[in-house]
Amino acid sequence: MRYLPLTDTDRGEMLGRIGVSSIDELFVDVPAEARLDGPIAGLPMHMSEMAVERHMRALSNKNLSAGDAPFFIGAGAYRHHIPASVDHIIQRGEFLTSYTPYQPEIAQGTLQMLFEFQTQVARLYGCAVANASLYDGSTACWEAVAMAARITRRKKAVLSGALHPHYAEVVRTMAKFTGDEIADAEPAIQPTPDNDGLIARIDENTSCVVVQYPDILGRIADLSEIAEAAHANGALLVVVNTEPVALGAIKSPGELGADIVVGEGQSIGVGLQFGGPYLGLFAVRDPKHVRQMPGRLCGETVDAEGKRGFVLTLSTREQHIRREKATSNICTNSGLCALAFNVHMTLLGEKGLRQLAAENHRLACLAADRLAQVPGVRVLNQSFFNEFTLMVGQDARAAVHRLAEKGVLGGVSLGRLYPGVDRLAEGLLVAVTETTTEGDIEALASALEEVLA
C-alpha cells in the first residue's frame, strides 16, 4: 500500500516495544462481537494509482464541463477565468497541508494571508472588519441573521423575496430550531425589486432585513431607503452578495448603509466545483459589532522581539472556549478557498477588478440585447450586472433541457429554483461573464429560438 510506510518488520519491532504480540491486542477494548475479522465484505480491495485515476476519469467524462459548452449558468455560482498561478500557489504543500494556525510562530504564512484576505473583503464590502471566512454564502447568511438577533435581542428576520431560495431555505431550516421568526416571500416578477413591499414588512420587532444585491433575478436596487427604514425601527440591514465581481462596478453594501454584509466568494479564485467547497464572506460596518461576529478572526500583534506578527484573536467567542455559550458552533473556516480568493484578488488589484467587472457588464448587455431579439423572449430587468432574467413565454425548465440537448448550458430556470411556483415557471436566469464569447451568445440565441419555436 503506497501510502503506508510501515513494513511488517517495523510492525513486529513496534509491537515488541509496546509489549504485545499482535495488533489485535491493541483493539482489546473493542468488544469481540463488534470487531470485524477481515476487510468489510463486498467492498473492493486497494487499487493502483493508475487504476483509480482511470475509474475517476471515467466518472469525470460523464459530465459536460462548463468549458466545453456555451455556458450561461449562475444563480449563486459563477464561472470566471482563474489565473494559472492561483492554483499553483494553493497547491504549495505549506498552504495545502497545514492546519488551522493555532501555533502562530510556525503559521505566519497562513495568518498573514488571512489578514490580507480580511482587509480585501472589508474594502470590497465597504465594511470595517471581515472575518477569516465561513463555509459558504448560504451558511454565512444564516449566521448574519443569528448575529442580528444577538445584537438587537429580537427574533424576527424579514427576508427579501429576491434572496436566493437556497439561502432562504437554510435560514428557515435553522430558524425552525432556534425559534426565530422568518418573514419571507417569493420574488415578484417585475423589472425592479419591490423595495416598498419589503419596507412595509419591517416593524419594531424586526431584528434584521435581509436583501440580496444584486438580487436572485439579477436586479440592482438602491439599498439606502431599506437601510433607513430598518434603522428607524432599530433593526439591522443584512446585505447578501453572491457575485463579488459585481462590487467592482457597483457601490459597496457598506456605502449604502448595510450593517452586516455576507456573501459567496467563489467567483474570485475558487471555481465552480459542482457547488463546493465555496467561500463564505462575512463583514460588519461598525467595529463595535466585532465581538458578536461568528468565525475566526486574524489580528495583528508583535512577538517577544517586537517584530510584527499575526495571531487568531478574540477566540473567546468560539466554541472551544465558550462551549454552549459560543456565538456559533463553527470551527472550520474555508482557509484554502480564502487563499485562492486572496491570490486572485491580488492579481486583479483595483485596476483588474474594475476591468473585469466592466467586461462582465459589457458582455451581459450585449447578450441581453441579442436575446431580446429572440421571438417570444423579453428581458425582465431594468438593471443588472452580469445576470438577468428572461421571460420566455413558456415553461423555462423544459427549455433548459432542450438547450442542453443542443449542447448549450443556457441558464437556470426559475422553476428549478422554485419548484411548484407556477407564476415563476417562465423565467430563465442567464449569467454572462468574461469567459463568455460573442460566439457563445449567438449560439444561445439561435438555440433558444429553435427551442422556443
Binding site: R291, L314, S315, T316, I321, R322, K325
Partner: protein
C-alpha cells in the same frame, strides 16, 4: 459604605438603595490579562446568582454573576477602552456596573472582607 463578597469572587458595595459590583483582586489574578469585559445594558433586570457580565482573558471567558437581584443603572464605560483596569485596579476603578438593591435581605448570605479573606485562603 459596607462591602460584601460572594463565593464566585464578586464584590458589591452597597450605598443605600444602589450598589456597585466588580470582581475581586483574587479573581483577576486567576484570570490573567483581561482583554474584554461585556457589561449588562442599562435597565437589565438581574436575578441573584444569574449571569450579569462576561470577563474575557485571551484563553478564557468567565461569567460574572449578580450578587443580588436588582436593575442595572450604570455600566463602567472606562472598561471598554481599557479592560486592563480590571487587572490594575479591580476593586476600585475596575468596577463593572451599578445596580439597584432589589431586596436588601439577599445581602445577608454574603461574606464580609474578613470572611472572604478566610474563604480565599482556604482555596
Amino acid at each position: 459604605m459596607p462591602r460584601y463578597f460572594t463565593d464566585e469572587h464578586e464584590w458589591i458595595d452597597v450605598d443605600g438603595v444602589t450598589a456597585t459590583v466588580g470582581i475581586t483582586d483574587y479573581a483577576q489574578g486567576q484570570l490573567g490579562d483581561i482583554v474584554f469585559v461585556e457589561l449588562p445594558a442599562i435597565g437589565t433586570n438581574l436575578d441573584k446568582g444569574g449571569d450579569a457580565a462576561v470577563v474575557e482573558s485571551v484563553k478564557a471567558a468567565s461569567d460574572v454573576y449578580a450578587p443580588i437581584s436588582g436593575k442595572v443603572t450604570e455600566a463602567n464605560s472606562d472598561l471598554e477602552e481599557d479592560p486592563a483596569l480590571v487587572n490594575t485596579d479591580p476593586e476600585e476603578g475596575g468596577w463593572f456596573f451599578k445596580m439597584t438593591v432589589g431586596d436588601a435581605s439577599e445581602l445577608e448570605g454574603l461574606m464580609d472582607e474578613a470572611g472572604y479573606k478566610a474563604f480565599v485562603d482556604g482555596l
